[in-house]
């Protein structure tokens, strides 16, 4: 069974159609990359998949491990194992990273009928994860994303992903704003989470990232549709040629 199956998905925002019949299938343990010009609908896809309000799905379906998730609340999808690393993470003053993550993990456990985590053990694990991601442990005591630099925010997203152990992680431009060293650490962090049970959808503008996080499939998204799919070499081809050719395909 697929991890994620998107069939002919159409969605609009404020009456404007953004996703125009999109098809995509991700198997368990696979990493897929989506590349595409600004405004082509990549973040929209990520939001529609994770249940952000404000979008109207006008056609198609989304099956996550065989279950139709389109009618579910965002928290229900999270409990099933979906995760989105935001392109623009949100600041929550006064709520520490540790408190926030405990709340999140326990909410998910509760929804699954599991018992609460051991707080001490959880904090210990968080600290270790920080080390691996080259994140200062101070960050755990700071308010979520508040006053974090752009790069810190992106690393914090990967830390959250590690703590929540999702089955499907969608990373929306997690590489943008990272310096070269950070890109390497974050990619290592992501790679460590790769497993036969976990799939990933990586949205990026830069082929460089895909040297570190080597994808099983690469898709080109233009004007709300996947117009071309291939292996990692497609990303190299895009780097050379740009999107012009694919844009024509989409228009045709």
């Amino acid at each position: 069974m697929s991890m994620l199956e998107i069939k002919n998905l159409r969605a609009e925002i404020e009456g404007q159609e953004i996703l125009k019949g999109l098809n995509l299938s991700i198997g368990p343990g696979e990493v897929h990359a989506i590349m595409g010009p600004n405004g082509s609908g990549k973040s929209t896809l990520a939001h529609v998949l994770t249940g952000r309000e404000g979008y109207e799905v006008t056609g198609g379906e989304v099956l996550f491990q065989g279950r139709n998730v389109l009618e579910m609340e965002p928290e229900e999808r999270a409990a099933l194992g979906m995760f989105l690393a935001f392109q623009y993470p949100v600041e929550i003053p006064g709520v520490t990273m540790t408190t926030f993550l405990k709340e999140a993990v326990n909410s998910i456990r509760k929804a699954r009928g599991e018992k609460e985590i051991d707080a001490l053990q959880f904090t210990k694990e968080l600290r270790e994860r920080c080390k691996l991601l080259n994140i200062s442990q101070d960050m755990l005591r700071r308010s979520v994303n508040t006053g974090f630099s752009g790069g810190e925010k992106k690393r914090a997203e990967v830390l959250q992903m590690a703590a929540l152990e999702p089955k499907l992680a969608i990373l929306d431009e997690t590489d943008s704003g990272l310096d070269i060293d950070a890109l390497k650490t974050v990619s290592d962090g992501v790679n460590r989470l790769r497993s036969p049970e976990r799939s990933m959808l990586v949205i990026t503008h830069y082929q460089r990232l895909l040297n570190y996080i080597v994808p099983d499939r690469v898709h080109v998204m233009v004007r709300g549709q996947i117009v071309k799919s291939g292996d990692k070499n497609l990303a190299l081809q895009l780097e050379e040629q740009g999107y012009a050719e694919f844009a024509e395909e989409a228009a045709a």
Binding site: E73, A79, G94, E103, A104
Partner: protein
């Protein structure tokens, strides 16, 4: 102009109580005069209606319609087992008032340092009438138009008196528990509080207003405060009365040279709460922080009306009021910064922010600057809006269900003002009250 029927219960009370000679301090001419002036002015002004500018958004009709009886003294001491303390059962000092009257058996006053006196208004009239005649009615002078203040002056019987002598620092917080207790008929009382901090002294006073019993109550309090040169007063308040309680509080404070008034009030309870707060920054380099937070639901109504006067050069104030409203909860914020002609280099900032969690919730915010000096730095602002959608989605995308996400966001929003409370344990106590309120089912 005042309708006779509305005034009657209170003027009758006054006549009955003076006739029976039961109002304390009958033999003190200054107090007698204050009472007489009070009842006369109240009679002229009447209970405020929305036609009075500063009462435009708060309607006392429901209060007028309730037949309040004066709360009697000598009532049995209630159990406070259900009343959580803000400072903890062991720490600090505590003074307890039930329906406006001191209950010494519930109080804990034995650990106050030398030079700090904490007693009741009625006792202080016997023990230290000079302190009262020097300050009571004097600090508030010049506010002839405040009907509820005058009603209090006419009918006041008891209250809190705190006097800290020069240089004395009261290290531990003082908790003032005010219990509104009514089981049957509606009861009213008019507590009068006096806080005098002599030069270079310091104290932390935290008011805890609660209800016992389900009857209607009306507390019409007045607090007069003087913060002497170089002194520091941390003055915090929790209004957690039942939704059958009317609560009107008029405060007049004077802040001396280099002195600091640090105020914070959280309103979660009450049917109708009105805080009328007036500070005069009278000494140069005096500083005021006047913060507040409110959470109201159902048909609760909370009004914070403040006036900060900058009377001399080089004074500063920071004022931030934040709240969240659900159901038909209503809030009013009227804040005025008044800069007198001589008050050059005034630095005054004021902000009101409200979160509307339901369609029917309503905030009326009116920040105002009145500036007569030319070299000042002043600002004011007000915002009202819903919960930020992106943030809400962010939390929910992490698996946090909507009601919890909402609680976390409101806590985060209000946390900024609670953060400014000087004592850490009190910050925690106030945050707990906020969390409790948010964890209760919404209507």
């Amino acid at each position: 102009m005042a309708s006779e029927s509305a005034l009657e219960p209170f003027t009758e009370q006054y006549e009955a109580l003076t006739g029976a000679g039961t109002l304390p301090g009958d033999a003190l001419p200054w107090l007698k005069r204050l009472r007489e002036e009070g009842i006369q002015r109240f009679g002229e002004l009447g209970i405020p209606t929305p036609k009075v500018e500063v009462w435009k958004y708060t309607n006392l009709r429901a209060l007028e319609r309730t037949a309040f009886q004066p709360a009697a003294g000598g009532t049995a001491t209630p159990s406070l087992d259900t009343v959580p303390s803000l400072i903890g059962e062991q720490a600090g000092h505590r003074i307890v008032f039930v329906n406006g009257r001191l209950h010494a058996d519930l109080s804990r006053l034995d650990r106050l340092p030398d030079g700090a006196r904490l007693t009741s208004f009625a006792k202080a009239l016997d023990e230290d009438p000079g302190l009262l005649s020097d300050h009571v009615g004097r600090i508030a002078e010049g506010h002839d138009d405040q009907a509820m203040y005058h009603l209090n002056s006419a009918l006041m019987q008891d209250g809190l008196v705190l006097h800290v002598r020069g240089g004395v620092k009261v290290e531990e917080p003082i908790e003032v528990v005010s219990v509104a207790a009514a089981d049957g008929e509606p009861l009213s009382w008019h507590p009068r509080h006096l806080i005098v901090l002599d030069p270079d002294s310091e104290a932390t006073l935290v008011e805890n207003h609660v209800s016992l019993g389900g009857g209607a109550t009306f507390a019409n309090a007045v607090t007069e405060i003087t913060v002497g040169a170089g002194a520091r007063l941390h003055h915090y308040k929790l209004q957690d009365e039942a939704t059958t309680a009317f609560h009107i509080h008029t405060l007049h404070g004077r802040v001396g040279e280099n002195a600091f008034y640090d105020g914070f009030g959280l309103t979660v309870g009450g049917k109708l709460t009105r805080n009328d707060l007036h500070l005069r920054l009278e000494g140069s380099f005096s500083d005021a922080r006047l913060n507040g937070a409110y959470l109201q639901r159902g048909k609760q109504h909370c009004d914070n009306t403040t006036l900060i006067e900058h009377c001399v050069p080089d004074t500063t104030c920071r004022e931030v009021y934040k709240g969240a409203l659900e159901g038909k909860g209503r809030a009013v914020f009227q804040g005025k910064l008044h800069v007198h002609p001589d008050a050059q280099r005034t630095d005054g900032h004021q902000l009101s922010q409200a979160l509307l969690l339901s369609e029917e919730a309503e905030i009326d915010a009116k920040p105002e600057l009145e500036i007569y000096a030319d070299d000042v730095k002043c600002s004011h602002g007000s915002t009202a809006g819903e919960l930020e959608k992106t943030a809400l989605f962010y939390l929910r995308s992490r698996g946090i269900p909507y009601p919890v996400a909402r609680r976390i966001m409101v806590e985060s929003f209000l946390g900024g003002v609670v953060e400014e409370i000087t004592t850490e344990s009190l910050r925690t106590a106030f945050m707990e009250r906020i969390t409790n309120w948010l964890s209760q089912a919404s209507d």
